[in-house]
Symmetry: C2
Subunit: 428 residues, 2 copies
């Protein structure tokens, strides 16, 4: 039943259409809902404009079972979502004294005077239920009619996310509109493109026809393969699991994990199991690799630190890279990458270290190592390796691709040389 | 005329609705078009599904003057945009041998065998013009009918962006559909919220009525105010500029710049003008502050490096933070932040350094310094300061807010103590 439910979202915000901000509402809501078995069917981004809101709202309200709007509930003149939807539905706005009190209390708490425009947020559409906002002044709104649900939520993520998790999700769950367990089997892969993966896996799926549903999702340098029951006589969960294991074998070294854990999480978790510590040394990625590790909650149990050594002097002084290596091979070289990794391990007292050095552009580069050339270094108790890559693209693209490549390369190295080898080599 | 042109976009991709990837197409295209005076009116994200594509395409094609689709042109079975739109328009697909040759050439260049599914990309809708793809196999498509334009572009950013910049933008410009100069005056601010800013500025705008258009856009810890000519008898550009200068005075210390440069760029540029160098020391932000600086092209002329000292030992060994400071005040303290900044300046041989230490959560924190507490440190030739902040929110939110706060605090410090003061203090 859930898979037939049609959930659409309308995101309000000029700044998204002007390219000033990423549409994090879509990413957040889409991810939350998918985990509970409900796939968002479409998302529309429109400006805070009456005509735009009316057209998008009517279209979505006519087609969807659940419609979620985000944004446009705030105090400024361009926040007109509440007023416009009330008008389109032919409903009045009524002043809600409990919301007014919550607004006054919030401003009092932060010892700031309430500007008048804030009280517009105390207007609630008649027949709508106000959802209290613990982190801001604009309440959410919940409305049911003819079996459809309209849920209007504030735009600031710090207000939207807690309201969605604590008030909306539990209610959708209680009403049986979303699932309580994971709805698909996910194989996470790294190293193979979508089309090569599809070519390798397709023969395994062909015999199941409509009994099996397969989706490929590329993101963050990885490709996820999601297996779930199809539209007709859906394949049983146990068979999907068996099929997943066969896929894992076919995917081979490009298989990362079942589930949705990040490469950085898996690496830290692996090292934590070994009781080891990790350090990072970066040049062209400029902090982005350390940032990937420190995005993982609890990273501090394994990740001890990183050095962003952007110029040669920093490489020599902070990481003890021998000056002669830079003189002879340059700072973008296999030799320098290896020395950076070893230096980071020693200076941070870590067992493992990973390093990146390269030309992110737009300037720099040499005939042998043009912009986009990246060397990775890996230091472990078993030895030191380096690896060369060339990525086309702009500065940010080179940075993030180099980070994904470093994480995946370390994963492969750790897999190749298992803990037993390490222990053995240390007792020899 | 351009402001009346209605441009809509359709973004294809299950992974966006599943929350696996940010909709970077929207951010990129919206930003590009806005710079040339054309505001995108709406963006729809849908799945790679025939019915979804048909409904969204018909609605957009009926309403828009220019419709851009992105994604769904690739080789895998779920890439059906080309086939679906051909069917809806009642047009045939024809094999394009020049596209086939380009696909063969690309695979040959990378010495990889062509899988058969790739040749689907050589099918072009009749009457459509193929746009060559320099970075991938799927060509773009361009179509004109009844004064409307349909532009179909590939999804991977590395293919989409160059195709849009080198083929689509110049053509829109040549046809007079977009502008060649900046279309609005932008005041970038930091430190004041949208509603407080509106309250302060509104009295300046009231007398202009519909002659002036004002938009507020909050993003990346900042709020942009955009002034442009209104819908009736638009205000002249020179008057908008004068008004912008008055706004600048009213905004005071919260004013950052005219234009759209980032805080990190402005700081690096300022220090470059002084001939000075910058280092960074971070704990809880874990590399994100260094990353903000190294996202700026040419950062290496000013930014020499950063240390991510995640545990206490790293703070002591890499940054020379005195052990007694950590013993007495803890690593999340004003004293430690100041010592980290000074240590970074000394170890990286930089004139200026900025540091961040705090509890990003979900674990950690003390009764006096709960999760979300952040201390900033600032080292300059004039002295060392520290600053305490408390931010609610999850780990990623604390990290990015701390980075914005650090950048803005350094901006204010640099503004307060100008170069003359520094020179004076050094000759005393």
């Amino acid at each position: 039943m859930k898979n037939n439910l049609r959930l659409e979202t309308i995101t309000l915000g000029d700044e998204l259409l002007l390219g000033l901000r990423e549409n994090s509402h879509l990413t957040y809501l889409g991810g939350c809902l998918a985990r509970y078995g409900l796939t968002m069917r479409r998302n529309i981004v429109i400006r805070d404009d009456e005509d735009e809101i009316e057209r998008a709202f009517l279209d979505a309200w006519n087609n969807a079972d659940i419609l979620i709007t985000t944004g446009g509930l705030g105090p400024t003149v361009d926040d007109i979502t509440r007023e416009t939807i009330a008008r389109v539905l032919g409903l009045n706005l009524v002043h809600d004294t409990s919301v007014e009190e919550a607004i006054r209390a919030r401003f009092a708490k932060f010892e700031r005077p309430v500007t008048d425009n804030n009280f517009r947020q105390a207007k609630v559409i008649e027949g709508f239920e106000a959802l209290p906002n613990s982190y801001g002044t604009a309440p959410g709104l919940w409305f049911e009619k003819d079996g459809k649900r309209l849920i209007m939520l504030p735009g600031p993520p710090m207000e939207l996310y807690p309201m969605f998790e604590r008030q909306v999700l539990p209610r959708l769950m209680a009403e049986g509109l979303i699932d309580e367990k994971q709805a698909y089997l996910q194989l996470r892969t790294c190293g193979a493109g979508e089309s090569s993966l599809e070519t390798r896996l397709k023969p395994l799926f062909d015999s199941y026809g409509n009994r099996l549903s397969v989706a490929y999702c590329a993101h963050d340098g990885m490709v996820d393969v999601r297996l779930s029951g199809g539209s007709e006589n859906p394949l049983e969960w146990s068979k999907i699991q068996t099929l997943g294991e066969i896929c894992q074998e076919v995917i081979g070294d490009d298989f990362v994990t079942f589930g949705d854990e990040s490469l950085a999480f898996l690496l830290l978790n692996h090292l934590r199991g070994l009781g080891k510590h990790l350090a990072v040394a970066e040049s062209c990625t400029g902090g982005l690799l350390s940032n990937a590790f420190t995005d993982v909650p609890g990273a501090s149990k394994v990740f001890v630190g990183g050095a962003v050594t952007y110029n040669n002097q920093a490489k020599v002084e902070i990481l003890d890279v021998p000056d002669v290596i830079i003189q002879q091979h340059g700072s973008v070289s296999a030799e320098c990458a290896a020395a950076m990794a070893t230096g980071a391990a020693e200076k941070f007292s870590a067992d493992y270290a990973i390093s990146v050095t390269g030309f992110a552009g737009p300037d720099g580069g040499t005939p042998e190592n043009p912009v986009g050339t990246v060397y990775l270094g890996y230091h472990s108790p078993l030895g030191v390796w380096s690896h060369r890559l060339v990525y086309p693209g702009n500065r940010q693209a080179v940075k993030s691709r180099a980070v994904y490549a470093a994480l995946d390369w370390m994963r492969r190295k750790l897999k190749k040389y298992e803990v037993e080898d390490v222990l053995e080599s240390m007792t020899c």
